[in-house]
Symmetry: C2
Subunit: 210 residues, 2 copies
């Protein structure tokens, strides 16, 4: 059952609307401050036409967030097998590198996600929290497998992963106000911090305490 002309055009228009919203937010504007008519103007449509694609403004916001979640997920995906085999130090570099690339490509996505993570809209918030938890869970699972593959004592993987995401996102936020080249330094710092984290986890697994 092929896509009819009507369906294709509708899909394209919908995409055009989302793209217009993204454009408007490019300067750092928040999702809350976006107006329906403004988005309509930017996408070259009449204000009322947006209702053919989204029941209301909130639905548009949710669609936007959904697409951001999808792209974050896609960008952070990797060959889990290879990740486990290359060893912790290189795995950290790979992880951070992937994140920095994501940040350079989808800066405004990231901004939107972090901003709306604390927004007033419950649906938005929960959608994003769920996505981030998935990120943590996957990372934790990888850490567990990598440690098991090396025959080491099991580390507090969940905690390591949670901290790792916090560190990366924190670095990401700092990067937003820096040039692409200055971001390298921040990325190196993040790597160092993640290595410290992993090292501390390993020591803890061996029974060492502060």
């Amino acid at each position: 059952m092929a896509e009819t002309t009507r369906q294709r055009q509708k899909r394209q228009t919908r995409e055009r609307i989302l793209e217009a919203a993204r454009t408007l937010m490019a300067g750092g504007r928040g999702l809350d401050s976006l107006g329906l008519r403004e988005v309509a103007r930017e996408s070259g449509l009449a204000a009322t036409s947006l209702y053919n694609h989204f029941p209301d403004m909130d639905a548009l916001g949710l669609a936007l967030i959904d697409s951001c979640c999808f792209r974050l997920r896609s960008a952070m995906e990797y060959e889990r097998r290879s990740m486990i085999e290359i060893g912790p130090a290189r795995a950290v570099k790979e992880l951070v590198g992937r994140f920095v690339r994501y940040l350079n490509d989808y800066e405004n996505d990231f901004r939107l996600l972090v901003q709306q993570r604390l927004g007033s809209h419950d649906r938005y918030r929960m959608r994003i929290q769920r996505e981030l938890q998935l990120l943590v869970d996957e990372l934790a699972e990888d850490v567990r497998q990598a440690v098991a593959a090396q025959g080491r004592e099991p580390v507090p993987a969940e905690q390591e992963a949670e901290a790792a995401i916090a560190i990366m996102f924190g670095a990401g936020i700092s990067m937003l106000d820096n040039t692409v080249t200055a971001r390298r330094v921040l990325a190196d710092h993040a790597c160092l911090q993640l290595e410290m984290m992993a090292l501390g986890g390993r020591m803890m697994a061996q029974g060492t305490r502060l």
Copy 2:
């Protein structure tokens, strides 16, 4: 030179306006979505009266953020000497405990700060970034002094502090959507993560690598 009646009343009104803004944001609303007239209504004033206290809406926002920064700073202040003497494990608990208390008392402050850290307003952003950097710097200095007092090798204190703040703030964000009792668990996790961090830093100082 005592405060005249005029001055006192003006100061009180100004405080009333800021309080009204805080009330409106209590439900999780963003600063961006606040309207001047709305704030005026909430504070029982005519819209135009606000111009006697703030040249425009942005100035009001900045005043709000300034007060949030001040309260964060006050809440996180501590006797630095005692902090250094009690040892790393207890110092971590003390730090996180202080932060959780701040979060319970000034939840909306924290929300505002984290939200506006990525807001569209450059002045707001920079004001907040500066405040957070101060937090990191002070913490780093304390770490250095504590390590020196114990006669250990110098650790990468700046990186430890940066990661620590990122971890705490990450935990704080998660806490916002949880009950006060559930926050204890998250706080314990944060403590564990900070301990891992400190342990990793110490190992690194001794030359251990991943």
